[in-house]
Amino acid sequence: MTDTAHRPAAAGPPRLEMQGIAKRYGGVRAIRHADITVRPGTVHALVGENGAGKSTLIKILSGAEQADEGTIAIDGSPVSIGATTDAIALGVQTVYQEPQLFPELTVAENFFVGREITRGPAIDWRAQAPRMLELLDTVGLDRGLASQPLGSLSIAKQQQVSIAKALLEQASILILDEPSAILTDAEIEVLFGVVRRLAADGVSIIYISHRLDELFRIADEVTIMRDGETVSSQPIGELTVREIAERMVGGAISEGHHEDREHGEPVLELESLSLDGAFEDVTLTLRAGEVVGLYGLVGSGAAEVGEVVYGMRRATSGRLRAVGDDRHPASPSAAKRRGIRMVPANRASQGSFSFQPIAFNITVGSLGLLGKAPGWVSPRAERRISDDLIRRLAVKTPSGRQPIGAMSGGNAQKVVLARQIVEQPKLLVLAEPTQGVDVGAKEEIHRIVADLAERGTAVLVITTDLAEVQRIADRILVFRAGRVARELPPTASQASLLAAAAGAIDDEPTPMPGTTEEAA
């Protein structure tokens, strides 16, 4: 329910009023009842657990989905939004959670798809060019990218393109669904600059994010969703991060704490490992029961280290000794045979078998365990293994027979993680394990990781999330431009970690207690 008591006095009608919105997908009630009111020129944060219905709500506003119930009013007059074109005509611009772009077309073309400036039937490139270049500048992208095929850009750059694209036309409402999830901090700064300027110009912005701390820097108001309902809506200044998090999950959450563990034999040893175009001269030792974090901005090369360890890519030079074997894993299945497992960064495209059941998704990585005879699969074993993991990881699902495609991001992430810990791995590589995952699920995933380490698994966590790496890693290797820039303990200040990753001069002396075995 909209909490009118907290709403600051507003002059004129609100820019947007959505009331009594409900939406169901077959048997799933994605939204039970949602109200949201957004005033002109404000940044309105929309937060909630994974699966709370945030994306669904904004899809209804952008015309990508139609509500079953409820009304929408813009600037005081009721509107009906039956298609994306209706929303665009009403001045609603949307940056979706998954960038909706065209890999085969150039960046320039991507900007104008669907709203080309034409002269007769032909596209008028001369008229389009200045606007396009201006927008590239606005989001801080190189102008030379205009003629690149979009598919050749990194995901982060693609995300920036999709943000820039939304600015092409004067919007009265701009929706950003987790725009920052895959952006680096510097890129986020640029984004915030853009958002603030737009708000100053009177544009209303709906901003969805799981990074609660960043919301306090950008948002004016916040609406919190839980279980398909809006539970509160008020100026963000009235709340703390902790209060928001508690309202999202509907109860108190426990504070995480870092425990010290005994470390065993080295499980992974890298020596001067290099992969052309990705990283160079990486040296590290990872012991059983140890959690090492590779922290770096997107494109720092940290992600590729994980791929080499898992056999997705071959290093160009250097030594790699994993689980007592000096050979570089030739393929993921070779890596698997040694007890190396990896959870990829992009769960939708790299992790999910969308319309297959959860049980299938969990066991597909360990088919060897499913039958008494080699090559054989027993449905009973499959059920036993998957039910066990669903319980252990507290995956929210009525049964293992549900398809993973209808699950929210956080639950899907748990399933993908479950796949890799069916058998306790000797070495587990986690890439962005909690990207886009809500606080509750994040908590659990961190607990699971700690648990595995406790039981002797060596864990390599690759992440761009600063808080996360501080919470779960025993040691942090900071990556910059393909090299290990610093090695820091988790107790190092955020400032020094960020500085190391961003390449700024670091005045603070490097404290390295507890990590004596090697110097960076």
Binding site: F355, L367, L370, G371, V377, G405
Partner: protein, 384 residues
């Protein structure tokens, strides 16, 4: 995990405000929750409807011949190759990434010719000739598989090319003459109708090919698809190739094996057609509109998602049965040239009707999935 989540979980799935859904509602939910995705149910229903309607027509004397079990059994001779080739398509289509095999007809022609040359001209023992022919089919399939899985050719292109190429080779090596002879003529007994032992006297004569060719392959295929790690891998690569790679599956080998399997099955059909036609025709699988298009049609009708990852044996067997019996029924009801023509009409209507109907139900369940690839069989699902 905290108590909070258990509560939400209960809230989400435990209590639903609607107390007693009406029958219509229940039917709607059943359809929406994939009742019709169970293509087998739909097909079985259609077969029953067909049999009932035909029996009534037969009863009132509107058919030109008796519509009885003998007739239905005798038409099964055409059922065997159709079902087998649709099964071959199931393997390649399910392997995903645009998997399809246009060359099955050409492989049937070519392996049939090779089989006849081995059996009739080289005088090899029957068993050896059959094994070699099937292996040869697997080899032809391996060419498709290698090009598609290892070199990255789109399957439609690979198999269009080999469709042309194998057809040419079959005609050239046979000097475009059917191969026949005493051994092959007597081999017809492998396909012809027989009386079943023990209980056979009171049952219609069933073509032997159903037992010697179709049944064993179907049983093996069922186990492979449902009870082996290979089956899991096949469905995995068809659903999401990248994710399968990350899960540690050798996607290329798995995909290649799908084409090899299709080739081997085509080889077996090649042998079967030699028996059925009592000669090895170099155009056995390519004359007329060829065997590939009907096979793909049956596979699709049987619920195989053209985008990969979905496909069941039961759908194939029932779809082929429906079409064979529908065609046979039409011949008894519509006399003259119109009869054969009406078969085209019926196939078109059944195919379009079944796909549109069950797609509507799939769509209802999954509209709004964030990834368009998630919707099987739909135009949106193929956009990448």
């Amino acid at each position: 995990m905290t108590a909070v989540d258990t509560a939400t979980q209960g809230g989400r799935h435990g209590r639903d405000p609607e107390p007693r859904p009406s029958a219509l509602d229940r039917a709607r939910v059943w359809v929406a929750s994939g009742g019709l995705k169970e293509r087998a149910t739909l097909l079985l229903g259609l077969i029953v409807v067909l049999l009932v309607v035909m029996s009534i027509l037969d009863g009132v004397g509107l058919t030109s011949g008796r519509f009885n079990s003998d007739y239905l059994a005798s038409t099964l001779i055409a059922y065997v190759p159709l079902a087998l080739l649709a099964l071959a398509e199931l393997f390649v289509i399910t392997s995903g990434r645009g998997g399809i095999d246009l060359s099955v007809g050409s492989m049937v022609s070519l392996t049939g010719v090779v089989f006849a040359m081995l059996y009739q001209q080289a005088m090899l023992p029957l068993a050896a000739a059959i094994v070699l022919a099937v292996l040869f089919g697997a080899l032809l399939g391996a060419v498709n598989g290698f090009l598609t899985a290892y070199l990255g050719y789109p399957a439609l292109i690979t198999t269009l090319a080999t469709f042309y190429a194998y057809r040419s080779i079959a005609l050239v090596v046979s000097e475009q003459r059917p191969i026949s002879g005493p051994e092959i003529s007597s081999f017809y007994s492998a396909a012809k109708a027989v009386e079943l032992p023990v209980i056979g006297a009171s049952l219609p004569l069933v073509p032997l090919g159903v037992f010697t060719f179709l049944l064993p392959v179907a049983i093996v295929a069922w186990f492979v698809l449902n009870r082996t790690t290979y089956g899991r891998k096949l469905y995995a690569i068809g659903t999401n190739d990248t994710a399968a790679q990350w899960a540690g599956i050798d996607t290329r080998r798995t995909r290649m094996m799908a084409y090899v399997t299709a080739g081997a099955i085509s080889g077996l059909v090649g042998v079967y057609t030699v028996a059925q036609f009592a000669s090895a025709r170099p155009d056995a699988g390519t004359s007329g509109s060829g065997m590939a298009l009907p096979a793909i049609t049956i596979a699709v009708l049987g619920g195989v998602a053209i985008t990969g990852g979905i496909g069941r044996l039961s759908g194939i067997l029932l779809a082929a049965l429906l079409i064979v019996w529908l065609n046979a029924s039409i011949l008894l009801v519509v006399p003259g040239n119109e009869g054969a023509q009406a078969q085209l009409l019926a196939l078109g209507v059944v195919l379009l009707g079944a796909s549109l109907l069950s797609n509507a139900s799939i769509r209802r369940r999954s509209t709004g999935l964030t990834k368009p690839v998630g919707v099987p069989g739909t135009a949106a699902g193929t956009s990448r």
